[in-house]
Each structure stands twice: as structure tokens, then as C-alpha cells.
């Protein structure tokens, strides 16, 4: 099968995925206790107002009917109106998704930039001091909850050292024209250097917190893969051919050891999307995670549904990218 045929098939598979995700989210979010009509109408509204609100939101209809109507509107690109913001959910999402993509991309970059070298150093300096140090670091990484880490980092770097800002994506005093919604990209496009520095500055702490566990995971996995690969016969042959250490490690060993790491990176991306709910909230980051978190607190059904569906799409696309990368790394895989 050709790559493009495979791509088309994979993209089409996203449709049943979305139906499944929407069904589950719809059911679960309507089964949790709480009355969104009451929340929307206000705590002091009269029962009549609440009933009117319930009717207006369509919450008085049976669940299957509600789901059917929702899906029909979804086909026309209508995700309903948010109960919290009273704006179309699709608009809310359009404003916020670049923030989340920017944050997760930054976190992913940090994982790759730190995790891979740490793994390589650990493996090539096995049982030396530097290996122990980076293993302790990764042990901390996998055992520290991210919300706790976020608070500690905020305390140290924002409150005491005052190096990093506490929250938001950019200092509001810096004007930045919105083109794509990606701050880094927009500041590059408008050649706005202060905005570029400022938005990267805002990104470092939340991205690091979001990626911290990932760094540790990649480091550990890569270390053990490389140690395993170093004992393989093809390494013996590479050495017997007189290949220098550098080529043995970076060409023969690393390439083979990266294959499982790429799979884990894909899984991690999903975990990170979940993590944005907490991290974006703690760092007041204007993105889908924070939006989703307050939607859950406010039982804002249309917003919850919208965020979930968008996350499912992002996750599916990320997986697709990884699968293609995987085929590039491992020639034994063909579609």
C-alpha cells in the first residue's frame, strides 16, 4: 500500500473515533450530578427562570434526542453555545487552540531537547557519576506530580527569584497583532522581537512543568534501549569495520534505540493534552485546557463536548504524524 492511501485511510478512521468519543463524553457529562440550567440561570433565579433556561438549552429533551440534535449541528460545524461565555463554542475554541498547541509543542521540544541527550549520556557513561545524577533526576521526574511541581517552580522562580512571570501567554502591555494566534509565530511574522522574547519567557515554566515527566520517561527508556542495542551484533560489526565511537553511537545505536521512544512520545502527547487542564489553569494560560477545566467546573456541556472532540482530533493527528515518523525510522514497517 502506498503512503497516501494509508494516510487517507487513517484520516477516515478519525470519523468513527469522533463518534465514539462524542458518545462517551456526552453520556458521562450528562450523568454527573449537578444542574447546568441552575448554574446558567444563576443561583438566585426563580424555578420558572431555571425551567425556561433548561428549555432554552434543550436540556428538557430526552438524552438520545439531545445527542442526535447535537450531532446534526456538529455536521454543520456548530458546537453549540457555551453556557459560561455565552458565545459559540467554536469561537471560544478558535481563540484558544493555538495557545494549547504552542504549549504542548514547547513541552514536547523540551522533552526531546533534554530527554534524548540525557538518555545518550546515561547510556554512554553507564554507572558513572553523570549516569547516576541523570537517573536520580529522572526518578524525581516520574515521581513528582505536575501540579505540585508547578507550584514549587512558581514559588521559586516567580515569587522569590522573580525570573519568570507567574502566568499568561504574554505581557498584555506588549502589543502583538494576532494573525495565526500562535504568539511565537505571530511575533516572528510581524518582526516583533520584544513580543517573541516575552512570549517564550512566559512559556518556559509551564512547558517545562508539562514536559518534566516526559523528559524522565524518555531518558530512562532511551538509556535502557541503548544499553541493549550496544550489545547487539550489528554494533559488533560496526566496531569490527573500524567505525569510530561517534558513528557507532549516533548512527547505529541511537537510530535503533529511537524507534520505541517515538512510540512513547506519541502516547505521552496524549498524556500531555490531559495535563494541560491542570497546567494551563495553574499558569493562567489561555488555552483549551484551562477552558476545558472551567467548563467542567461549570458543567458547561457544549464547551466540554467541544474541547473533548478537538482534543481527540489533535491526538489522532499527532498519532498519525508519529506513525509516519516511525515508518521513516524503521524500514521494516511498511503500510
Amino acid at each position: 500500500m502506498k503512503l497516501w492511501q494509508y494516510l487517507i485511510r487513517r484520516v477516515m478512521l478519525i470519523v468513527p473515533l469522533l463518534i465514539g468519543v462524542s458518545l462517551i463524553t456526552f453520556t458521562v457529562s450528562h450523568l454527573v450530578p449537578g444542574d447546568p440550567a441552575r448554574l446558567a440561570a444563576g443561583l438566585h433565579a426563580s424555578p420558572e427562570t431555571v425551567e425556561a433556561m433548561r428549555h432554552r438549552l434543550g436540556l428538557d429533551k430526552p438524552l438520545p434526542v439531545q445527542y442526535y440534535l447535537y450531532m446534526m449541528r456538529l455536521l454543520h460545524g456548530d458546537l453549540g453555545t457555551s453556557i459560561m461565555t455565552r458565545r459559540p463554542v467554536i469561537k471560544d475554541i478558535m481563540i484558544r487552540w493555538p495557545g494549547t498547541i504552542e504549549l504542548t509543542t514547547a513541552a514536547m521540544s523540551i522533552i526531546i531537547i533534554l530527554g534524548i541527550p540525557l538518555g545518550v549520556i546515561s547510556a554512554t557513561h553507564r554507572d558513572k557519576l553523570i549516569d547516576h545524577a541523570s537517573r536520580i533526576f529522572s526518578l524525581l521526574g516520574v515521581s513528582m506530580p505536575s501540579f505540585w511541581l508547578a507550584l514549587i517552580l512558581q514559588l521559586i522562580f516567580c515569587k522569590y527569584l522573580k525570573i519568570f512571570p507567574v502566568g499568561y501567554r504574554i505581557d498584555p502591555a506588549i502589543g502583538l497583532r494576532r494573525i495565526t494566534g500562535f504568539n511565537v509565530l505571530d511575533s516572528l511574522l510581524t518582526l516583533n522581537f520584544p513580543a517573541l522574547v516575552n512570549s517564550i519567557w512566559h512559556m518556559i515554566l509551564p512547558a517545562f512543568t508539562l514536559g518534566f515527566q516526559g523528559i524522565a520517561t524518555v531518558q530512562r527508556l532511551l538509556r535502557s534501549n541503548m544499553l541493549d542495542s550496544l550489545t547487539q551484533d550489528y554494533v559488533k560489526l560496526a566496531k569490527a569495520k573500524g567505525m569510530p565511537e561517534r558513528i557507532v553511537i549516533y548512527k547505529h545505536v541511537l537510530r535503533n534505540s529511537m524507534i520505541p521512544v517515538v512510540t512513547v512520545l506519541a502516547l505521552m502527547f496524549g498524556g500531555m493534552l490531559g495535563g494541560t487542564f491542570i497546567i494551563e489553569t495553574i499558569f493562567s494560560w489561555q488555552g483549551l485546557g484551562r477552558y476545558g477545566a472551567s467548563a467542567i467546573i461549570n458543567l458547561d456541556f457544549p464547551a466540554i463536548m467541544g474541547v473533548t472532540l478537538i482534543y481527540a482530533v489533535i491526538f489522532a493527528v499527532a498519532n498519525l504524524v508519529v506513525d509516519i515518523l516511525y515508518a521513516y525510522l524503521d524500514p521494516r514497517i511498511r503500510y
Binding site: D233, L237, K239, A240, H252, I259, P331, R332
Partner: protein
């Protein structure tokens, strides 16, 4: 008197394992003459691969060369720096291993794996400049362009693949190991080994995993390459049949020692060491029924606590009292025929 290419003298290799010190090579000595095909034969675990690894100075981790000399072209390889050894590996001394599936890197193309050897060891400036001049019509170039260099390497890769009679070399260059058959993979590994015109080529069980027809083809190829390239061969095997077909001289190894060393004809016509005799009895003659194959009784000894004296004495039908006490030295009993056995001293 033929010229000696490689002289291994009193080589000792230990593996320091948790279970104890494995004395894998216990004073191995032999000489290989320029241009000959030398065989190293013995049961599994007797130290053939460790001997080969020692020559390349690539003994695996818990192992260490503790004593001896390996004189190649008059210089002791054990005294060379790691850097000097790296220049020798793959260029002057090359090796072909037994299982091309695991020894070839699964994620790199065959062409890439051959090319990296050439790039590492060969200066192709002259060839590349020629390409630059004749094909890119760039007569003023003093240094070849990257493109011309790449082309020069590619041609050498193709040449190597043609040397091993690889079908469709141009296609194979871009293929991955899993896309080739076992025989083709072994040809690719041989192409890699000969790509820098080595003086000395070691084949460690290079045909063991191949079926009989392909095994025959590969052996023919190796003999042919030896003549065309003028290199010296060391053929490691546990198969006396292969030795008979391909080798000029042979050393029989037993439990980390050389038991006997002589011309192949002589070993087959007049084996002296009881172990060699047992080995020859153990190969079925084509006329014989395979059922009458006579295995040597007993087990290969454990090399952590090897038997004292002659390591073969617990299995030797002719063992004497002295055998369990004194280690027999390898000595020449007739011109060109060395044996390590108390029966001949």
C-alpha cells in the same frame, strides 16, 4: 620459507564473570602465512570466536586479553593504540560473521553500511576528482565536490557488490537487510568486508546459517575472492568438511588451546592428537550411514575450572597418568606439524 602474515603467540584471554574467571584462551599459538587459507576448527565454545575477536582487539566486556602477542605484518597489535586499531579494523583486517540477519543493522540500507566502511578508510579524492573532470566537466576543480565524492563512494560500493556477484547491485544498494535472502545478506556482509581490500579476512562460521547449496556458493565465492584480491583467509568453522574443501592448513582447537596444527592434507591423512582423531571419526563419510556417526564421549569442559594438565584428559581414550598433571606444550613433531600431546614428547 613462506612469509608469516600473522603470528599469535601464547594468547591468554579471561572473562571475569560473576561465576568466576573463565579461562577462554589458555596460551593459544599459531602462525598464518601470507596468501594461504588457514582453518580454525573445534567444537562450540572452544574459543574460536574469542581468538578472532582478540586479533581485532574487540574482546567483549567482561573479557580481557591478559597475555600474549599478536604480530601482524611484523607489529604487535596488542601494543597499538585504540586509534591505530580502528584504522586497521575493516581496512587491513576484516571479518565476516555467521548470522548476517543480526550482524547487519536493520535500519540502514546495504549501500549505506558498505559506504560508511569505505568513507572511513579510503581516500577517494583522486577518483572523485576524475569524476569531477570527466563527468561534470569541471577541469579547474582542485578539491572534489561533495557530489563527486558521493559518486565515487557509490561506485566503490557497487564494485564491491559486483565482486561478490550480488544480483542487481544497483537495487540492493537501496535495500534494507530484511529485504534480502539469507545468501544475499551474507554476500552483502562479504562485500562490506572486502570493500577496502583487506590483507587478512576472517570468516567466523560465515556459512553456518545457510543451507547447503548456498553454503557451497559462498565458499566458492570466498576462494575466488582470495585469489582475485590476493588476501589471506582465516576460516573458522566446526565443520571438518568445510576445512577439507577450503583450507591449506588447519589448527584444531580444544577448550581454549591449540591441540594440533598442520597442513590440511596431513591432518586428514595422519592425525596425531587423540582429539583430532575423534573429530575425524565424528564426521560421516558420504558412503556411510549417518547413524554410525561416532561422537566423542564426554562433555566440553567448563572453563572456569578446567581440568588440570591436558584439558582433554577426561575424554581422552589414551590418557596417561602424566596427562592430568602436566599441560602438554605445542611442539613440532614433524616439519610443519605441531601437536600438544604427551604421546609425542
Amino acid at each position: 620459507m613462506p612469509e608469516v602474515l600473522l603470528r599469535v603467540k601464547n594468547l591468554r584471554v579471561n572473562f571475569y564473570t560473576y561465576a568466576g574467571v573463565v579461562k577462554a584462551l589458555d596460551g593459544v599459538s599459531f602462525e598464518i602465512y601470507k596468501g594461504e587459507a588457514f582453518g580454525l576448527v573445534g567444537e562450540t565454545g572452544c574459543g574460536k570466536s574469542v581468538t578472532a575477536a582478540s586479533i581485532l582487539r574487540l574482546v567483549d566486556k567482561p573479557g580481557r586479553i591478559v597475555d600474549g602477542e599478536i604480530i601482524f605484518e611484523g607489529e604487535d597489535l596488542l601494543k597499538k593504540s585504540e586509534r591505530e586499531m580502528r584504522e586497521i579494523r575493516g581496512s587491513k583486517i576484516a571479518i565476516v560473521f555467521q548470522d548476517p540477519m543480526t550482524y547487519l543493522n536493520p535500519v540502514l540500507t546495504i549501500g549505506d553500511q558498505i559506504a560508511e566502511t569505505i568513507r572511513e578508510h579510503q581516500d577517494l579524492t583522486v577518483e572523485a576528482l576524475e569524476i569531477e573532470r570527466n563527468e561534470y566537466h569541471n577541469t579547474s576543480a582542485e578539491k572534489p565536490s561533495k557530489k563527486a565524492l558521493r559518486e565515487a563512494v557509490l561506485r566503490r560500493v557497487e564494485e564491491a557488490l559486483k565482486m561478490v556477484r550480488m544480483p542487481d547491485p544497483r537495487v540492493v544498494i537501496d535495500q534494507y537487510p530484511h529485504e534480502l535472502s539469507g545468501g544475499m545478506r551474507q554476500r552483502a556482509m562479504i562485500a562490506m568486508a572486502i570493500s577496502c581490500n583487506p590483507k587478512f579476512l576472517i570468516l567466523d562460521e560465515a556459512t553456518t546459517f545457510l543451507d547447503v547449496t548456498i553454503q557451497r556458493q559462498i565458499l566458492e565465492l570466498v576462494k575466488d575472492l582470495k585469489d582475485r584480491l590476493g588476501c589471506t583467509l582465516m576460516i573458522i568453522t566446526h565443520d571438518m568438511g568445510i576445512i577439507a574443501e577450503t583450507c591449506d592448513r588447519v589448527a584444531v582447537m580444544y577448550a581454549g588451546t591449540i591441540a594440533e596444527c598442520a597442513e590440511t592434507k596431513r591432518i586428514f591423512s595422519k592425525p596425531l592428537h587423540p582429539y583430532t582423531r575423534g573429530l575425524l571419526d565424528a564426521i560421516p563419510l558420504p558412503t556411510e550411514d549417518v547413524k554410525v556417526l561416532k561422537p566423542i564421549p564426554g562433555f566440553v569442559p567448563n572453563l572456569i575450572n578446567p581440568p588440570p594438565g591436558c584439558r582433554f584428559h577426561p575424554r581422552c581414550p589414551e590418557a596417561m597418568e602424566v596427562c592430568s598433571r602436566v599441560k602438554p606444550e605445542l611442539r613440532e613433531v614433524e616439519p610443519g606439524h605441531q601437536v600438544a600431546c604427551h604421546l609425542y614428547g
